[in-house]
């Protein structure tokens, strides 16, 4: 009996200590992680729509839209976050579009769990730069090895699924934003 009590006591104590220690660490790291995410989002808004001098946050139909303005106070375009399933985990990204909601100005990946070195390359400049000034009126297409035409993106070699996921996520959210945001408002 004594042995069992000792066993249970050890495990309970260890569990307690670990729980307390972890909650302390997470109390310390949570604000930092939160801050990292905020900062990444802020930087991303400036990155996807250039030249952004300042931006405003607006909520339409429960969807947060960032309105970017250039130095003279002229509206440059809108950006918004979108997410969906990738190859391994969820991909979260932000898309910047022109005022007509027809042309993509740029994208940035906020979070992804894709295979390092393969699907992970969706974070790379050579993949993201394909979206700069991309015609998306009819939705974006994806090609594998052939030369991409107007409104098309070339998939990362060996990571078609991750590339396709990014394109699908953008297409889906863009059409949703189009339906809630009156064009050229």
């Amino acid at each position: 009996m004594n042995r069992i009590v000792k066993m249970i006591l050890t495990l309970t104590l260890l569990g307690l200590i670990s729980g307390i220690a972890l909650s302390m660490v997470s109390n310390y790291t949570d604000p930092l992680i939160e801050q990292n995410q905020q900062e990444a989002l802020r930087e991303a808004v400036f990155y996807v729509l250039q030249p952004t001098e300042d931006y405003e946050e607006r909520t339409v139909d429960g969807k947060v839209i960032y309105e970017s303005y250039d130095e003279s106070g002229e509206l440059v375009g809108y950006s918004f976050t979108a997410s969906g399933g990738g190859y391994q985990g969820t991909i979260e990204l932000i898309v910047g579009v022109g005022t007509e909601l027809e042309e993509i100005k740029g994208i940035q990946i906020l979070a992804s769990e894709e295979t390092p070195g393969l699907g992970g390359k969706i974070r790379g400049e050579s993949f993201k730069s394909q979206f700069r000034g991309l015609e998306a009126g009819q939705g974006i297409g994806l090609v594998k090895s052939e030369e991409p035409e107007r409104g098309e993106i070339q998939a990362i070699t060996g990571a078609t699924i991750s590339s396709r996921a990014v394109v699908d996520i953008i297409n889906k959210e863009l059409s949703r934003v189009r339906s809630i945001l009156p064009e050229g408002e």
Partner: protein
Amino acid sequence: MELFFIFVAIVLTQNFVLHFFLGICPFLGVSDEMEGAFGMGIATTFVMTLTAIITWNINTFILKAFNVEFLEYVSFILVIASLVQLVEMFLKKYLPELYETLGIYLPLITTNCAVLGLALFMVLREYNFVESAIFGFGAGVGFTLALVIMAGIRGELNEEDIPKPFRGTAITLLVAGLLALAFMGFSGLVPT
């Protein structure tokens, strides 16, 4: 149909062992006996399915509900360890014959990273309950498949004259590489 695709993907195109490198230790250490490999596979599949079901509930109704997600790894590994223990006790008591064949493999399952990996992937992919259960079962089936194929090939290799530095681990890894190449042929089978 979605569920069917999840199953096929995890067994063939995204096989846990040959694609995500999960459960490599038992895979490389497997003997050349097909029967043993099959037994290990069945025991693991059983634990994996139960793990998927239980960890999904823990994650949804405890970790997320009380906002204590930092306890994810600790609680998952404890679930797996206790589950393995319970399965062992249950088999010993009620199915002693099955225990005779599977018993020796059970303790090894706790440190099989495929089991914990399964729970982590499930959370990352935000699967619902049914999807998680299918995913867990499929991961086990895929693991068994890889294990049995490897055991078969190792049986054949015993007869061969392998260069000395390659004996043991190196040749097994080489075979695994070729198997991974072969399994790449399945890619495209599942639409995404």
